[in-house]
Amino acid sequence: MTWDPQTFEECFRDRYPALVQFLHGLTGDRAAGEDVAQEAFIRLWSRGPTRRPDADYWLFRVARNLGLDWIKTEARRNKRDHLAAETADGPAFDPEDQAQVRRAVTALAPRDREVLLLREFSEMSYEQIARVVGRTVNAVKQDLFRAREHLRRAWQAKCGGQ
């Protein structure tokens, strides 16, 4: 079974943005997020499931593993750049606030960070996220709760400190 090009394009247009957002958060690097997301789609085309929603789940699982590999490689190179230049098309947002949020996300434990980013960007259920990260649903909920609390505290500390 191979992908019908039109269906593949629909899947790409639907899932690529969320995948880039997730990987940007996971790796801390926008360009790496885009590269890894594209690699995940190339793998989906050649060896992934050809139906949705299986493909969606498969994509995030592969992208997560590729992202973690990228982090390991970069950690070895010790050249990590948390604040890559990027082109935002969203509403205006103070760059310092943006950096603050990213620093708070980067400070999260890796397992909490990936669950938070998957929940925020992938629109997947707890069950699907649990399958992607290989944990139980309860563990995912606990990780998510911890991550949100950590972010809220970081945000409140920042707002209170001003």
Binding site: E34, A37, T87
Partner: protein, 84 residues
């Protein structure tokens, strides 16, 4: 609706232009390279396996032949004389 809208602002979605560029890159790479390359690798692995098997068989044959020639084939030697 997200509970953390600032997270979405900190990690913005790719623009429409970026999406088009990425789609073109992915479809060209997917269509051009991946499947033939994998097939080529598989064929190369099979050819290498066959070559190794042939080489091993050839070497073993050579070794056996060398052993036989070293021993030599001697004609039977008559040790005892005819009974008187």
């Amino acid at each position: 609706m997200s509970e953390l809208p600032e997270l979405h602002r900190a990690y913005p979605r790719p623009s429409a232009a970026e999406l088009d560029v990425a789609l073109a890159r992915v479809t060209s790479r997917a269509a051009a390279g991946v499947v033939p390359w994998r097939t080529l690798l598989r064929v190369a692995a099979m050819a290498a396996g066959l070559a190794i098997a042939y080489g091993a068989g050839f070497a073993m044959g050579q070794h056996r032949t060398a052993g036989v020639t070293q021993q030599g084939i001697r004609p039977p030697v008559l040790i005892a004389g005819p009974r008187s």
